[in-house]
């Protein structure tokens, strides 16, 4: 028997908190390569998920810059997402990009006749803040002969993933839709309003790297990686039946489902099962079983 071709599908959804407009949403997602959710991926992929802090100004812009930069840098450097000099260099690089971005933004505000107000100057002097979660997935060069899913003796395709996290945006590795690994937060009780954050003016790259958590793992056909910002991650970790929770979430499989996804989130909020916050979720499905 010949196995179906191994591949990966990636889809992501981002929705604002109830009471905010989509333009005010401060969760950012960048997936590379930039393909449609129904297009097969056979090459390495990278994802950046960043959650801008409510109390921070320009948090959505910093979250977007951070997510874009980490996805791009991790695509160029296969070993970026592990402890070491490469990650520290990334931390310095992305912080160096903020002040030129802010100078351009400030200039445009003046040109628009809306110069920064006193409270923006005060706030932006402190910098902008966001969480960071990044993952890189690489397909194995050769199928795995020893994989435990190979019940028919055929070599099994496999993937290696590496992740880095600063703050409380989470990665969940699912096998048969059951939780295999939760990273970096293990329990719903560990979420709060003071997560570690990546500051746009934090020039201490060594500290940023030191406080970032790293993890790697292997995926088999049928596995999934879910990346989620804190509110949805807390909902999942606190769900009385996590399998049922995952299956509810899997009902939303592409950008066409965004309105339905928003309605579903509002329902959870009304039932006080989900904290009212922006939500970003990325779903990486490993096919071929």
């Amino acid at each position: 028997m010949t196995r179906p071709p191994s591949c990966v599908y990636v889809t992501h959804l981002v929705a604002p908190k109830h009471g905010s407009t989509p333009a005010e949403c401060e969760d950012a997602v960048v997936v590379l390569p930039d393909r449609s959710h129904d297009e097969m991926l056979r090459e390495p992929l990278t994802v950046g998920v960043c959650d801008g802090a409510t109390e921070s100004a320009l948090a959505k812009d910093w979250a977007a810059l951070l997510a874009r930069t980490v996805a791009e840098e991790a695509m160029g450097l296969p070993d970026l997402l592990k402890p070491g000099a490469e990650f520290e260099q990334f931390a310095a690089t992305v912080v160096d990009r903020w002040d030129p971005w802010l100078a351009q933004y400030t200039k445009e505000r003046v040109e628009d006749g809306r110069p920064l107000k006193w409270y923006e100057h005060t706030k932006l002097a402190e910098g902008a803040f966001a969480t960071l979660l990044a993952v890189r997935v690489d397909p194995d060069a050769e199928p795995r002969a020893d994989a435990d899913a190979a019940d028919d003796g055929e070599p099994t395709p496999g993937w290696r993933w590496r992740a880095a996290a600063l703050g409380d945006s989470c990665l969940f590795h699912l096998r048969d839709d059951r939780l295999l690994e939760a990273f970096p937060v293990k329990s719903a009780d560990d979420f709060g309003t003071v997560p570690d954050l990546f500051g746009s003016r934090n020039h201490d790259a060594a500290l940023l790297a030191e406080r970032t958590r790293f993890l790697q793992g292997d995926c088999l056909p049928g596995d999934r990686l879910l990346l989620a910002t804190d509110a949805l991650a807390a909902w999942y970790l606190s769900a009385p039946d996590r399998l049922a929770a995952v299956r509810e979430l899997l009902e939303f499989s592409g950008p066409d489902d965004l309105d339905r996804f928003g309605d579903w989130l509002n329902g959870l909020r009304e039932r006080q099962q989900l904290r009212n916050d922006d939500v970003a979720v990325v779903r990486i499905d490993f096919e071929g079983r």
Binding site: E120, E126, D277
Partner: protein
């Protein structure tokens, strides 16, 4: 659980500042640099409004998570806003932030992001000036605040409860303020009773203290009365104070004696805090 309502633009809360502007506020308080009490409370109000505005500032403007009143009491009881907000009671925070009476520039040392400090010019907006004239009608002021609290709880019955912050030397000239204080905290939203905090500025000496859990050690009856009038800190505020290294217990109250009260702004949760790694 009380005091857990989300503070948002659709479900805002109000903060009502009461500012003692009586003649006795022209007296100095102790300390290395003697200051008039009136200067201390005006400075505290201006810094509180600055911190609130900056806390809620976003690129499109300041978000109205809070609506704010600044009520002076001395020769009269009423709005203490100077400038274009003069005469207004409860004002959305965005309007407060956009309408200081004036903005001074002051130099300040700020972290340079690499462990050092650099001197920079910062804006220091001012909404009120020091005033010291007349008696100390604290009862009338508390009753005025009660009417604002009552109106708020009717308008936003599910909101985080209103917070009244009274800045005074404690020397009420229209009787014991205890009953009027209790009347404020008898109003409630579905999320809990209104809160009353007090800043006592005093020349009586003793140790400056913020958010104590006992009246022991307070220097006089004015301080002890204000302590007893002050609401216990709700649990999440205690947790935040504890996370900042403050010693707290279940009897910790929203009372500050000759110390910085602007920390209270940090007690308010509007979402993920913007804090640098430590």
């Amino acid at each position: 659980m009380p005091y857990t309502a989300e503070i948002s633009r659709t479900n805002p809360t109000s903060i009502i500042f009461l500012v003692d502007q009586s003649t006795s506020m022209s007296d100095p308080i102790g300390g290395e640099v003697p200051q008039q009490k009136a200067d201390v409370v005006a400075d505290a109000i201006n810094r509180l409004l600055t911190e609130l505005s900056v806390k809620c500032a976003k690129e499109e403007g300041v978000r109205d998570y809070f609506h704010v009143a600044v009520v002076g009491y001395g020769a009269t009881v009423g709005s203490a806003f100077a400038g274009s907000l003069g005469g207004r009671d409860i004002v959305p925070l965005s309007e407060v932030a956009d309408n200081p009476a004036r903005v001074d520039e002051r130099s300040k040392k700020v972290p340079d992001g690499a462990g050092g400090l650099v001197e920079t010019s910062v804006s220091f907006p001012l909404w009120m000036d020091p005033v010291a004239h007349g008696g100390t009608p604290m009862n009338r002021a508390l009753q005025y605040a009660e009417s604002l609290v009552s109106g708020w709880t009717e308008r936003y019955p599910a909101s985080f409860p209103p917070i009244v912050i009274n800045l005074t030397d404690g020397e009420s000239t229209d009787g014991d303020p205890t009953a009027a204080a209790e009347a404020i905290t008898s109003h409630a939203t579905a999320d809990g009773a209104a809160l009353l905090f007090n800043l006592h500025v005093s020349a009586a000496g003793g140790t400056p203290t913020a958010f104590p859990d006992t009246a022991d050690g307070l220097p006089d009856s004015y301080a002890r009365t204000l302590f007893s009038m002050s609401s216990p800190l709700p649990s999440h505020m205690r947790s935040y104070a504890a996370s900042q290294g403050q010693r707290v217990s279940e009897t910790t109250r929203g009372f500050v004696y000759n110390a910085d009260i602007t920390t209270v702004v940090q007690f308010l949760d509007i979402g993920t805090r913007a804090t640098e790694l430590r």
